[in-house]
Symmetry: C2
Subunit: 216 residues, 2 copies
DNA sequence: CTCCGGTTGTGGACACTGTCAACATTTAGT
DNA sequence: ACTAAATGTTGACAGTGTCCACAACCGGAG
């Protein structure tokens, strides 16, 4: 019978029904994920913050894992937005090849920067067991309507269109580029590269993208 | 007052002290990790399988996380062994450059194959929070005494010695190669590439290594 | 407007977990 | 032989995810 007001303070709820509990629960879960990753999402605490009984969550999510999946999709969407932002900041040169390359770099850079800025969310984006491949799930998309994976694909298509990537090299190119950047982000966050500070990581990340450009 | 005999059957223990509880606990935890990753390691169940009271574990591990770290190191050691095995299966050509390249490929191939063969263990190898960089921790090493990271470094050194990798390109080369292969393994296990079967993964993995060779 | 079925939230319970403090047994060193 | 340290046990506690039965509310059919 309690809920959160606009300032996130607990307050008595007048209506028996919450109104928008699904979103409230999801947003609380996202905040927890930002702080400590998937392990930090605890069902009872989520409902507590929403001012609702623990079991109320089960009217909106089948179980805890369903909530985690929802957060995972939200995380992917946030990543997509971060990549889109990086893309818009490209200053166009007019040269088709150069612009296409800049776009690919922007995707990689946005990916790495997001991983550093939001490690908790990033960790959830691609590590939550979900049956279907939701690489094209709208819930995982950004403002452009594209998921991170699709944004990468689009950048590679531009590279082909610009003549900078041979069509016979196009197949699986997403996977190669993705693997490199994703692996780097993982090693940076919870691997042997944890000690690196932001500027180091930025520098090495750019070199990593160089390697991908050469190798694709 | 119970313990496991040689056939892993529960049996009454005659001695009050277990004898080798540390190893017994660790091995039980490793088996659980093989089946379900870090989440599958539950302290009480570990002690149960060892035929010992739950709190006995606290005489050997500060808390659950300490146990996870120990398993993580064991997982790294197992990975090192898998890579070493892949290396020994190289048929030497006599050509220095070719042999060095084969060695680098063996490291990557062993890495990917281990990830597929032991997904539970692999997931623990590099994703358990541990303060120190144990890239050179003997507990994480294989038969050769080298950790996976060091095995990769050695392969890259050979590549330089053979003249196939310019010395000015040597720096950070571990990170680049590692990132690509590690990211690929991650995407394969718990990412959008989950649907791929073993032969597909093997094929694409080899192409991925091609990219690294070109790009380094 | 009334009634009634479905939706949403509550209360109480259960089995299970990690961890703590106090105690018991065994081992090892003087 | 005696004592201190190491190792294992008992009992307890707070906290978790989930199940079942019940309560309050909402929207549409009559």
């Amino acid at each position: 019978m309690n809920t959160l007001d606009n300032n996130n303070k607990l307050v008595k709820r007048s209506t028996y029904h919450h109104g928008d509990l699904y979103r409230t629960l999801l947003e609380a879960a996202v905040q927890m994920a930002r702080q400590g990753g998937a392990d930090a999402i605890v069902l009872r605490e989520v409902t507590r913050q929403a001012g609702v009984a623990p079991n109320a969550a089960y009217r909106h999510f089948a179980d805890r894992n369903a909530l985690l999946q929802a957060v995972s999709q939200a995380a992917q969407a946030a990543l997509a937005v971060a990549i889109e932002r990086e893309i818009t900041e490209i200053e166009k040169s007019g040269d088709l090849v150069e612009d296409a390359r800049a776009r690919l770099r922007a995707v990689g850079t946005g990916y790495i920067r997001f991983a550093q800025a939001e490690p908790g969310l990033f960790g959830m984006a691609f590590s939550i067991p979900s049956d279907l491949s939701n690489a094209d799930n709208p819930a995982s998309a950004g403002a452009s309507g594209l998921t991170p994976f699709q944004l990468l694909g689009a950048a590679l298509d531009m590279l082909v269109a610009a003549g900078s990537l041979k069509p016979e090299r196009r197949m699986y190119a997403e996977i190669f580029a993705w693997s490199a950047v994703h692996g780097f982000a993982m090693l940076l966050l919870e691997g042997p590269l944890r000690a690196f500070d932001k500027t180091q990581a930025e520098f090495i990340g750019q070199r990593l993208i160089d390697m991908v450009e050469r190798g694709l």
